[in-house]
Amino acid sequence: MLTRALYATLSSLLLTGLIISGCAKKPATTASTSAPAPAVAPAPAPRATPPAAAAPSTAAPAPAPAPAPLAGPAAARPSPKEFAAVDALKDVHFEFDKYDIRPEDVKTLDANASWLKSNAENLVLIEGHCDERGTNEYNLALGERRAKATMNYLVSQGVQANRITIISYGEERPVCNEKTDSCWAKNRRAHFLVKPR
């Protein structure tokens, strides 16, 4: 059993809390809070429908304001799906958290540049990839740097920049799924795809 003294202590403590609550907060009311109106609703927005996909028992707050203008033009970019691999173009690889071209990959890139120059009817897509270490957003940026570094090398070897498109997949498209050094090394790559102009 709790002692009387304990009760008294607890009571006074709880009472203190209640007094403080009572002073600082609106008194507890019987107001419904089930469906407050939105704070701002500048324009009549589409009617909110309970999200079937997001569970019928979940909340459906009031509709959001009308969409803001779009940011930036959608650039004319060829769909990555239109590109296909060719045996002649080999991957190059990168050290962990690096995006400079390794000396041992220069030969491969030179061969790729040479093929692209003699197959000038092709556009090329360079994919930049990372291993799963690090984190998604950073790796998306890192993959971009790898694709860009690879592109810059090809351009330095005489491939026209306007034939090259780059894309980063970050860590999202590994070719190897084991958690080993050799697997991670395979995933840190620039991959080449082509399509006819």
């Binding site: 059993m1 709790l2 304990l6 009571s11 403590l13 709880l14 009472l15 203190t16 809390g17 209640l18 403080i20 609550s21 907060k25 019987t30 107001a31 419904s32 089930s34 469906a35 407050p36 939105p38 704070a39 927005a45 589409p46 909110a48 429908t49 999200p51 079937a52 997001a54 569970a55 028992s57 979940t58 909340a59 707050p61 509709p63 959001a64 803001a68 203008p69 779009l70 940011a71 033009p73 959608a74 650039a75 970019r77 769909s79 799906k81 984190t135 998604n136 957003e137 950073y138 998306l140 940026a141 971009e144 740097r145 860009k148 980063s168 997949y169 970050g170 999202e172 590994p174 799924n177």
Partner: protein
């Protein structure tokens, strides 16, 4: 503010008193005259308020499942809040029977409960009407602390319970709980990731994208009505936002420039979105004004700059840069000026600025990944997670006290909760699909 501090003092004092009570454990009691069975839950109660939540008393309607569900969800919410230890109970208190109520509370008090929740529920057609009465069981007369009525559509019984839980937390701490919130997160293996929204406790998960591409980095807007995210749905990594509560409303394109369009970070007022674009050569941070579409570039550096996160004042932005060789956390003013390096000597990504202003939580990679916290002023970093595989991708609850994050400690990525004090972690998501990149919504409107 005074009130909040005082409430904290109350909790601290209660903790001391509770540990006294543990020296002489009360016998497990069983109420005789009423249909309520209780016993004391296990676990560490030394810093918690012991609270009893019997099944709701059904005063209209016939569905016996709802009164039990409400008590069960509230009990779980109060446990997850970290403030309470829930005294197990089965059965409900009879309606309009003061003697039975008094006897129930006396029995719970004897079992160590400091507070009791008497819930009343009327089911009227497709509406639920509930009343929550909160009692102080440490007073001989079982003082009524607060009573409040709630209404909800019948299918939203879980949300009704969450609202009641948040009110109970408010009564004890001066700030509402965070049970009436959502998590958005990414589900799926590499190459096939969709965004899912669930209640904060993992219940009711459902897809909000179904585009069979790669969807990343969901981020709730401050009004809780939209989610910004990166998607490859059009082939390239572009930035979009979707409206999870408006089924017919199409996804809006926010940025689709050449290169990457990623890492959405909302300003606290929801008027701006910080983001990463590589359209000008390499990944840099920009701020998009949503009402006008105007872009302002903040960083100008040859390295990677990404993952912007705003201070709650809206005056500063923390971000990741590899300008020192490895990724580290930096802070700049909102116009890009006054850049300073916050962390050093490691591989640091994923900064998340507390909605209370302090600390900034981030991910450190040293073999595996773990969460760390650092003051925006640059105090010594404090490690929040350790052991148990990788722990990363933190997101703050609106109370600035709870964090959700992803961990592979079970062998697959799943979401977990912890408090920023680093207390017990709780697994949120289960099952076969991997769950990553959580974003905790603001309190729902």
């Amino acid at each position: 503010m005074v009130r909040r501090l005082a409430a904290a003092a109350l909790l601290f004092a209660l903790a001391a008193v509770t540990s006294l009570a543990l020296w002489a454990p009360p016998p497990a009691a069983r109420a005789q005259a009423v249909d309520v069975y209780i016993n004391v839950t296990g676990g560490d109660k030394s810093k918690k308020i012991n609270i009893a939540v019997p099944d709701f008393t059904l005063i209209a309607g016939t569905d016996q499942a709802v009164p039990k569900l409400l008590a069960s969800v509230i009990g779980n919410d109060l446990t997850l809040s970290g403030f309470f230890s829930v005294v197990a109970a089965t059965g409900s208190i009879p309606a309009n029977n003061p003697a039975a109520l008094a006897q129930t509370w006396t029995a719970f008090a004897a079992a160590g409960a400091h507070a009791g929740v008497h819930g009343l529920l009327a089911i009227r057609g497709d509406r639920l009407e509930a009343e929550m009465r909160l009692y102080d069981l440490t007073t001989p007369e079982h003082r009524l602390i607060a009573s409040r009525k709630f209404e909800s559509p019948a299918p939203q019984s879980r949300r009704l319970a969450h609202k009641i839980s948040d009110e109970i937390v408010l009564q004890f701490t001066g700030e509402p709980g965070v049970a009436d919130t959502k998590l958005a997160y990414v589900v799926g293996p590499p190459g096939s990731k969709e965004i899912v929204v669930a209640d904060y406790d993992g219940a009711g998960a459902g897809n909000v994208t179904r585009n069979a591409s790669i969807n990343l980095s969901p981020s709730w807007s401050p009004d809780a009505r939209s989610i910004a995210f990166t998607s490859f749905m059009n082939g390239y990594p572009d930035l979009f936002r979707l409206f999870p509560f408006e089924r017919q409303r199409p996804v809006q394109t926010l940025a689709s420039f050449v290169g990457i369009n990623s890492s959405p970070g909302w300003s606290p007022d929801g008027r701006y979105l910080a983001l990463t674009l590589s359209k000008d050569g390499n990944p840099e941070i920009y701020v998009l004004t949503l009402a006008t579409g105007v872009l302002q570039r903040l960083t100008r550096h040859a390295g990677i700059d990404t993952e912007p996160t705003w201070s709650p004042s809206g005056q500063q932005i923390a971000f990741v840069s590899d300008r020192a060789g490895q990724p580290r956390i930096y802070v700049m003013d909102k116009d890009g000026s006054n850049v300073r390096q916050l962390t050093s000597g490691g591989f640091h990504t994923q900064p998340r600025w507390s909605p209370k202003g302090d600390p900034i939580v981030y991910t450190q990679r040293s073999g595996t990944h773990d969460l760390w916290a650092i003051s925006p002023g640059g105090s010594s970093p404090r490690q929040l997670t350790s052991g148990g595989g990788d722990n990363q991708s933190a997101t703050w609850a609106p109370d600035g006290r709870h964090l959700a994050f992803q961990s592979n400690r079970t062998g697959r990525w799943q979401l977990f909760f912890m408090t920023v004090e680093g207390q017990t972690t709780t697994q949120v998501t289960q099952g076969g699909n991997e769950a990553t990149s959580p974003s905790w919504s603001p309190r729902l409107p």
